[in-house]
């Protein structure tokens, strides 16, 4: 049981990263994704990857997986047909939200459509009060009638969310039981299970997103689990959550809403680890894949974690890394719009049919086709020679576009790259400039299959002086699964006043959370010695509605622990708001446990520095079209696998490896740091 495997399945490729705990060997494998059923591609990738390193699935000790199944279903509104059962008088809450319009000034802006149409939002008589008393008992017949109506309407999922359902859970629990009886096939979830927190709209929204994605994730995970078991995998596989931590398959299908940022979060975790290795703490991650691109900002090595965010237009209460996604990547299709301007995306050729050069039927040129014509990408083979491509087809498709634009084919190809670069720059401004961070103070960490190909142009556009290209950029997300401890977060809301009398209740809440964490540790097969638990509580002055998180030490909740919490809160409040309200009562609101299991991590040992001469890694030359030269320029071609610590390369140059191609522009130099990451700098 020596191998640990990370699998990242994106819109275009499925990446498999394998790590031998004993020898420290790391290997990577890449196959085309199978978007109609991603589990097929994953199983194929695992099978081939395992064979590639000469082992068998039974020898795998851990399998972690990051997926975009949930996020894609949310973006494309391809979730399950979902019904909502809620308190009488409040079916429109889901649609009204917080009654704010989507944009302050833009009269044409639209709110995202509610995930449950109005005719599938059904009300039942029941009313719980804020203190937990029942004003109107649940009308179980009405629930039954609603469940039948939803069944007849053909829903595949039912969300149940009542006012104060998290204060007193029995109405939601009873409704759940009845719905399960009437709709045995449907996926059912309740507000108190998914987001047991105050503020009904955000809780309903989170519950509805969970129901909407539940059947999609459940089906996907079921198929994947069966395929992996069929290969002979003996361990229970895990899925990454939006916070970078992992959960088991079963929990992931019940709490699909926690996986909406599963795929991209692993990339951030990986970049954090790689940046740590290379000694770079301030990073902007640029993860450009075939279909979409994710960017995030790490300051001092840390990406902001949020407990609530609006994802693709929908409020979600769940721990998430602060990641921004745009729907453009290497597979994005270029076209001329009705105003005669060149546009790229958001339509994508995806994995199938893929770019024109794949010769699988697509005739609309993509970003990849443009790179193939410019010869920044290898014009005959991709994936380290494993995949033949047709440059002539790409040229013809771009030529057709060039005619519409009245430009030369080469200028058109370069134009496609320029437009997509500008799109990426805009995405990075959202997470940097718009939040007051100057991108010029950061290093661009470029990964994903297309990141290193476009990073140099993007850095120039943003005036970023340094780029980090990890050793295995194309499979970094998969590798991230092997570079991090397994982690899960547990939270419970219980409103208490900070006073001695609250001690038993605090102990009680933390005991409940600790039990949940213990169950998770067991599920994740984390041994007792590897378990780490950190406690925290969100606090506020009575009267405020937003809290500040204060760490809680291990051990019993004594009087001095309470004193420490009071002091910690006062400090945090002064730091944040500049004042302390002496004598005002302080409330404890949400209690949190972060559980992590220390795991052996893929370790990259630094290599001794060699002489700068990298000529031994040159495997040929290629004519590359560069706007700086307004024509083709012969560039040396380096094999990434032959580059060693200390090597230096002067641009223009191309570095090829199986999972990515790095472009080094004229005026840039690249050096190989001891962990074999490439550092590109403007000279």
């Amino acid at each position: 049981m020596a191998w640990r495997i990370g699998v990242d399945s994106g819109g275009t490729f499925t990446d498999v990263c394998l790590f031998d705990e004993q020898s420290g060997r790391v290997a990577v494998w890449k196959v085309s994704s199978t978007p109609d059923d991603p589990s097929r591609g994953i199983a194929q990738g695992v099978e081939e990857g395992v064979a590639h390193v000469g082992t068998v699935p039974a020898e795998i000790g851990y399998l972690g997986h990051g997926t975009t199944v949930g996020t894609n279903a949310l973006i494309q509104h391809r979730g399950a047909r979902t019904g909502l059962i809620t308190t009488d008088g409040f079916r429109d809450l889901l649609e009204i939200g917080r009654q704010k319009r989507p944009d302050l000034y833009d009269l044409q802006a639209d709110a995202p459509p509610p995930l449950v149409p109005r005719d599938l939002r059904l009300e039942v008589p029941e009313r719980i009060r804020h203190d937990g008393t029942v004003e109107t008992p649940l009308d179980e017949d009405a629930v039954r009638a609603a469940a039948r109506a939803l069944r007849e309407a053909g829903v595949a999922a039912v969300a149940i969310c009542f006012l104060y359902g998290f204060v007193r859970t029995e109405h939601e629990a009873a409704a759940r039981r009845i719905v399960a009886e009437e709709c045995p096939e449907a996926f059912v979830c309740t507000g108190h299970e998914i987001a047991p927190e105050f503020r009904e709209f955000e809780r309903i929204s989170t519950t509805v997103v969970n129901a909407y994605l539940g059947p999609v994730m459940h089906g996907y995970i079921g198929r994947l689990g069966a395929r992996l078991a069929g290969l002979g995998l003996r361990v229970a596989p895990h899925i990454t959550q939006s916070n970078g931590g992992v959960i088991g398959f079963d929990r992931a299908s019940r709490q699909a809403v926690r996986t909406v940022l599963s795929g991209p979060s692993t990339g951030v975790v990986a970049a954090q680890a790689i940046g740590g290795m290379a000694g770079i703490a301030d990073l902007i991650t640029f993860d450009m894949g075939g279909t979409s691109t994710d960017v995030a900002l790490l300051r001092g090595g840390v990406c902001r974690l949020t407990n609530e965010a609006i994802v693709h237009g929908y409020p979600i209460k769940a721990p998430m890394l602060d990641i921004h996604t745009v729907g453009a990547g290497g597979g994005s299709i270029a076209y001329v719009d009705n105003g005669g301007l060149l546009k790229v995306g958001p339509r994508s050729a995806g994995a199938f049919p893929g770019p024109v050069c794949y010769d699988t039927g697509n005739t609309e040129p993509t970003v990849t086709d443009a790179n193939l014509v410019l010869q920044t990408l290898n014009p005959t083979h991709l994936l380290g020679g494993r995949m033949a491509v047709r440059q002539d087809l790409a040229k013809a498709a771009i030529g057709h576009l060039a005619e519409q634009l009245g430009l030369t084919p080469m200028a058109t190809a370069q134009g496609i790259v320029s437009v997509v670069t500008a799109n990426m720059a805009r995405a990075i401004r959202v997470i940097s400039v718009q939040r007051g961070y100057d991108p010029r103070d950061y290093t661009l960490a470029a990964f994903g299959g297309a990141g290193p190909l476009h990073a140099a142009r993007l850095a120039k556009e943003l005036d970023i002086a340094r780029i980090l290209v990890p050793r295995h950029p194309g499979i970094l997300c998969a590798m991230g699964l092997l570079l991090t401890d397994v982690r899960a977060d547990f939270a419970a809301t219980r409103l208490l006043t900070l006073a001695d009398a609250a001690r038993p209740a605090i102990e009680d809440v933390f005991a409940g959370l600790a039990a949940e964490a213990a169950a998770w540790f067991a599920e994740a097969a984390v041994g007792p010695a590897e378990r780490r638990v950190q406690r925290a509580v969100d606090m506020r002055y009575a009267g405020q509605n937003y809290e500040l998180s204060v760490p809680v030490p291990d051990g019993p909740i004594t009087g001095s622990v309470l004193d420490g919490l009071a002091a910690g809160f006062a400090d945090a409040h002064r730091r944040m708001y500049g004042f302390v309200a002496e004598g005002e009562p302080v409330q404890l609101v949400t209690f949190r446990i972060e559980a992590s299991g220390l795991v052996p991590k893929a370790a990259f040992r630094p290599r001794p520095e060699r002489a700068p001469d990298a000529s031994a890694a040159i495997v040929g030359r290629r004519e590359v079209w560069l706007p700086e030269a307004d024509g083709f320029l012969s560039c040396p071609l380096y094999d990434r696998d032959r580059l060693d610590s200390g090597h230096r390369i002067a641009g223009p140059a191309i570095v090829e490896q199986m999972d990515a191609t790095t472009v080094i522009l004229p005026g840039m130099t690249a050096r190989v740091e001891p962990h074999l990451n490439l550092i590109l700098e403007l000279t």
Partner: protein, 554 residues
Amino acid sequence: MSHAMEPAPRIAVDPITTEVIGSALSSITEEMGEALVRASYSTNIKERRDCSTALFNTRGDALCQAEHIPMHLGSFIGILPHILQRHAVADMRPGDVFVGNDAYEGGGTHLPDIVLAEPIFVDGAMVAWAVNTAHHADFADRGHAHIYQEGLRIPPIRLYRAGVLQTDVQELILLNCQVPRERLSDLRAQMAANRLGIERVTALCAKYGRDTVLAAGDALLDYAERKMRAGIAAFPDGTYRFSDVFDNPEIDRDLPMSCAITIAGDSMHLHFESPDQVRAGLNMVRTALLSTVYYAVKAVVDPTVLPNAGLARPLSVTAREGSVLNCAHPAAVNGRVSTCQRVVDLIFGALAQVVPERVVAACNGAVASATFVGENPQDRSIWVYLETIGGGSGARATKDGLDGVHVHMTNTSNLPVEALEIEYPLTLLRYELVDGSGGAGRQRGGMGLRRVYRAEAPCRLRLDGARLRSAPWGLEGGRPGGMGRFAFGPGVAPFQHGSGFLEAGQTVEIVTPGAGGYGPPEARDPAAVARDIAERRIDAETARGLYGAAAMGR
């Protein structure tokens, strides 16, 4: 007016630095707004976010306003000139904080919007102002014949002097408030917001240099002006007129109002006619009119223009002094925001003749509000709960209007039901879209909202709004949206001019207006009509009457 300091030196700033500084200023104001919301205690701020933050240069030009409430710009543009009129810049010190709210002497647009303004000093010189306003849900259950009945009038005076709280000033203010604990906490939150702004601006100056930041600020004003002028220049020259009426529970008659918009090249002049100011709280001071014009013209000409003072340069605005839309002392102004909404209707109605595809049909045209006031039986302290309720947003040339949202001059959140019922002796029985309230049209107008409350303890209630007697109009053949109304449960004594009393257990229902449709109803896509019927946004019989047999798809 004495200038606080010499204009920024004209140094050249490259476009990237300008953009970065511009974005930093905007993120500073947003961050100030978040701090204000998070540190506050009153539901109107901590959940409903009825507050705004901004940065001004020393000449009193808005550099950037956070995207909260367009109405609050009125207080911002008013207060700095008043401060500079009353106080010598030479006497100002770091840590001086000015407080003000008065509509005539303090630059405010109504008394509950209390502004805190603090000069920012870098290397001993004043470089900018951090300013914020919060709507304090107080001064409730007052008269509105003139401003002296409406609450405490505060001219711009120092609440802090060189960082030291002037407790006598604060005590005077708090004694005049009905909920002093909330006021004190919210004032502290306002302090926190400005303090954060000062910290961030100081850091920005340290990074880029004070002169670069100031020059970038000027460049951003020029940029907004250029964009605005380019947008206006694309509209055909001419004078375009529109008239409407304003109705309100406070007055029995409807007030006729009109505007004439003259476009000449890259500038725009707006002139407004309205009756003499009235003895009711619905008059607008000039700064309220200006902020309304700035909002409406920006939304139509180019919503992406930066929200700074540069966008006002191509615009000129006139209205007779002493009229409802440009009132003079001592006119009452508390409910001016509904009047402002009608001014937006006037502007859109006029511009619909030039750029019909850019405007929307009449929105709900009101800021429907409910103010509950009661006494806590234990200590006879007073509680005040204010909320404003959205409604329909007008249909657009190619899209339906938005249902149940705040429009135009306001954009506050609702209070979660679960927060409302914990904080106040009120129960919300229903909160829903109003079936049939969206004006019919090729594109349907947005739907209004219904809220039904039950009082759990005796309380006074004041209801405000508009479009209770005049429906929000449609465009290009679109039909009007539903009107607003108030309905009372069994036993409730009749309300007078929107004010009355609820005993424990009694109920009240507020229905807000929908919005007008766009284009002839017969042209509506039958599938959209069918969907509206399936979703009960309209009943089948009414739909058949409005849309005709063809649009019913059979």
